[in-house]
Amino acid sequence: MTTLELRGVSKTYGEGAAVVQALSGVSLSVEPGAMVAVMGPSGSGKSTLLTIAGSLEEPTSGEVLIDGASLSRMSRNGKARLRRRSIGYVFQDFNLLPGLTAAENVALPLELDGTASRRARTAGKRALDDLGLGERADRFPDQLSGGERQRVAIARAVVGERRLLLADEPSGALDSVNGEAVMRLVHEACKRGVAAVVVTHDAQLASWADRVVFLRDGRIVDQTAPPAGPESLLTSPGQIP
């Protein structure tokens, strides 16, 4: 079953002369295990697309379905439960809570969803172990490097039974080595069956995706073809002078 489906989603802000059309008739499907990158310039509607896909904002028209269930037919509580259980978010500025350790940050969504504190923290530590951050579990965010903070944020986004990972410029201001480490983690999560949407203006990040869609003025104007294998690069005729 398709994990995320947007059907003709539009979003306008403001009224009358001040109306801004942030999204116009956007349709997008993301299957389990697939990573889709959304590329576009500032103001093209990338972040709006992500917040609507994550049920943090309502579309003006159109429909969003997660695992086949329409968000518009869901109660507020139902959506809140979906956000806690099924959707993981990663933002540019990490959004870790400064008063909680790395493990507590990762365990938080499970605890909010009613998992007993001890079990939640065990799951949190395991998620950090998987990302090579086991030794940092008891540190507070300000005791971690930028790259480590973002890896904790990804651990939090994929902890438990999350099926959809939504990331907005996930490598933020990280250097290219740390940016690559972040994309590697998203890629690993997809290999385990998580569907991911990564919004970015950075082609190096987007190139980790199975499919890249291009957004311009709130519309999807283009997308990449199904990827050819890297063999095509290796068998091309040599270009040595």
Partner: protein, 194 residues
């Protein structure tokens, strides 16, 4: 990429056979640049003629003929490593030309032309990135080659993004499209290579 200097570099580690040089060249460049064996022997003959390598004197021209670097060859290699490639004058880039020409052709949407190239470049980057996916099989030489290619393609995409934005702003400000004369002027001023 200079095969000549790559072979000198491999011989700087010690004497080697021709076939061995080819295998090591391909392995060190992550097998991204295939090299045929004829190219190796032709280059070795020229290096020997120029006094930069010596062969073991056997008359056999086959794979068992050994080569070693001379003192002159080592000097040549050291000088080559430190000589910057000529990046001082911009090359006449086909993509830049296409975008500039698209501005002048009636009925052509330059943003659509830019997007065609952007998509193609992103697809190429996806193929290069796929090489990185299996970290365990990823050797350091290949990693450096792949990074270089990704940064190169990325810089072209960034230029397309900047051009896209600049043209959009110019259209919003009601500026006319640049006149073709801008190009020869720029070439004279910046010394663009033909």
């Amino acid at each position: 990429m200079s095969v000549r200097h790559a072979l000198l570099a491999l011989l700087s580690e010690g004497p080697k056979y021709g076939l061995q040089l080819r295998e090591e060249f391909e392995a060190r460049t992550g097998e991204v640049w295939p090299l045929n064996v004829g190219q190796v022997y032709t280059t070795l003959q020229r290096l020997e003629r120029d006094g930069l390598v010596e062969s073991d004197g056997s008359t056999d021209e086959g794979p068992q003929k050994g080569f070693r670097i001379t003192a002159g060859g080592a000097d040549e290699l050291a000088a080559w490593l430190r000589t910057p490639p000529d990046l001082s004058s911009p090359p006449r880039d086909e993509l830049i030309m296409k975008v500039l020409v698209a501005l002048r052709v009636p009925g052509v949407d330059v943003h659509e032309v830019i997007q065609v190239h952007r998509r193609y470049l992103v697809e190429l980057m996806q193929q290069w990135t796929r090489l990185k996916e299996d970290e365990a099989d990823f050797d350091l030489g290949l990693a450096l080659v792949v990074d270089a290619e990704l940064f190169r393609l990325d810089s072209v995409i960034r230029w397309l993004d900047a051009a896209d934005g600049r043209l959009k702003r110019a259209a919003a400000d009601g500026l006319p499209a640049p006149v073709p004369a801008a190009l020869p002027r720029l070439r004279r001023r910046a010394g663009v290579r033909p």
